[in-house]
Symmetry: C2
Subunit: 144 residues, 2 copies
DNA sequence: ACTTGACCTCAAGTCGACTTGAATTTGTAC
DNA sequence: GTACAAATTCAAGTCGACTTGAGGTCAAGT
């Protein structure tokens, strides 16, 4: 298997070299060795970085990402914790959808002040509170 | 209309007093006056704080929230910008949904290593794909 | 042999959103 | 009129995720 130096990894992943070093230091990824001083990485690091990127976009801290998927990409974590995280995400998705609706509404509503618009106020209340009942379909396009 | 002092606002909104002061300093909210040194707020500040909370949950920076809804809660911003934000949110929701699917999958998949599971890799690629407007994401959450 | 440029380490800096602490000023309660 | 809790200001600290900078090392090309 071909080994990559840090600039190669950086180029292919779009992640800054300094960030890659940072991730290694934090234990999210591992270099397979060195040539002189220079780190060498296996191909799998690209997948791991993609995973890290995704986790970050989802708003997880590096430490959380690290515990979600083990250092080798395997799940060393309890099922329950994973389900909890998934539920967290569902909640966060609801928040985002609320805000999106609210913003679209603001863009269209003719009311002089948004706070005077009952629809807006409803959306606001909806976004701030947690209703265990409503499971909205928020995702566009692709199904699982 | 009844006026609230900061501790009342804090209690009713669940926002720390220090945070409320911080928001005022940044211009996201305004106190309507003082009694001695003490700030007095109108009822509307509660709605504004709810709005700020929501915006934060959606991953927006305070400055962004400030420009989204004017100081008085009115939209002083262009429609186009609002639509753009809404689109950002849609994109972010997709990311979250991808990660959620991935996590649920990890919790259930029997494959020895997730990277060996084609379904997992598909989900990873799906979540990692770059949209043209997707520059450096420095902050957690949405760009712009 | 030597210069170059990519890479290294380690410390310190940055940015956003607050929090914390110290010193001070009130309005109210006794 | 004095004590007290609650507010105030302002400066500095914290946390996460990096970035930046200074100074050092090394393999490869000329």
């Amino acid at each position: 298997m071909k080994l990559l130096d840090i600039s190669e990894v950086s180029k292919q992943s779009g992640t800054a070299a300094s960030a890659i070093r940072h991730y290694e230091e934090k234990g999210l990824i591992t270099s397979v060795g060195r040539r002189g001083l220079k780190r060498l990485f296996g191909q799998e690091v690209l997948d791991q970085l993609a995973l890290i990127e995704l986790g970050k976009k989802a708003g997880f801290a590096l430490d959380e990402i690290k515990t979600m998927f083990g250092p080798d990409g395997s799940a060393s974590i309890s099922r329950q914790k994973l389900y909890d995280k998934a539920d967290d995400l569902d909640r966060q998705i609801d928040h985002l959808a609320s805000l999106r609706d609210m913003i679209r509404h603001v863009a269209e509503c003719p009311a002089p002040s948004h706070m005077e618009c009952p629809k807006f106020r409803r959306l606001l209340r909806l976004g701030g509170k947690r209703t265990p009942s409503d499971h909205k379909v928020t995702r566009r396009g692709a199904s699982l």
